[in-house]
């Protein structure tokens, strides 16, 4: 259900496994995060993703459990890559299966919003001017906070 890995993932295969032999699933929503070639005006040649082994998996599981308590989820998958990545690479997959689309859309966004603010991953970008750690965005904090109401 939750994986942290260096290798790429195949979205179609992940979704196929999720919906396999479960006719109760009526909606399958997925989000894929990608490496862009530009962030806040900096041209990105490469990105290094670091994480906190152990806490990362625990934290992702807590987020998924929180989503399961809120919506009737029939299947969930979270795959996050670590290590060196280049523009156009896939970084993260969050996929949620439910009976109906409203729950699936909401749960997928909820998991992604909390992943961005709670799961211990850090990005370091390489640009022509050198490398730097990406700063946390306040908009991500606000996106996660709206679920607390």
């Amino acid at each position: 259900m939750i994986r942290v890995q260096q290798e790429d993932f195949d979205v179609a295969e992940e979704l196929r496994q999720m919906r396999a032999a479960n006719p109760a699933i009526g909606a399958l929503v997925s989000f894929v995060g990608l490496v862009r070639d530009l962030n806040e005006g900096n041209a990105i040649s490469c990105m290094m993703l670091e994480h906190y082994p152990g806490m990362t998996e625990k934290s992702l599981l807590q987020i998924v459990v929180a989503a399961q308590q809120r919506w009737p989820l029939l299947a969930v998958r979270v795959v996050h890559r670590i290590g060196p990545l280049v523009p156009c690479d896939q970084i993260v997959l969050v996929a949620v299966a439910c009976a109906h689309r409203g729950d699936a859309f909401a749960a997928c966004e909820f998991i992604m919003d909390y992943l961005k603010t709670k799961a211990p991953f850090w990005k370091k970008e390489q640009t022509p001017a050198g490398s730097h750690w990406v700063d946390a965005r306040e908009t991500d904090g606000r996106a996660a906070a709206r679920w607390e109401n």
Partner: protein, 85 residues
């Protein structure tokens, strides 16, 4: 009391180590005490862990607040706000 401190991302680079094992005096009881104990080492700890700086602390792999009590053989991690996804 012994505890392991892990550093990630910018902290790991600034402190030039991913982890260290420390033996703490009895006066160090909470996360806040531990931070003060680290700041007392001087640079770069006192600047990087200064009160105005933004960083996070986890205790045994759960996000922790400053008043949480350290346990023997605790795993403490200090890192910048997260930026995954």
């Amino acid at each position: 009391m012994k505890c392991q401190i892990l550093y990630f991302a910018r902290m790991r680079e600034v402190f030039a180590t991913p982890a260290e094992e420390v033996a703490l005096p009895d006066s160090v009881r909470t996360i806040a005490d531990l931070l003060n104990w680290l700041r007392a080492r001087g640079e770069p700890w006192c600047s990087e862990l200064a009160a105005g700086k933004t960083f996070r602390v986890a205790l045994n792999q759960e996000m922790a607040s400053l008043d949480q009590i350290l346990t023997d053989a605790a795993e403490v991690a200090i890192f910048p706000p997260v930026t995954g996804g």
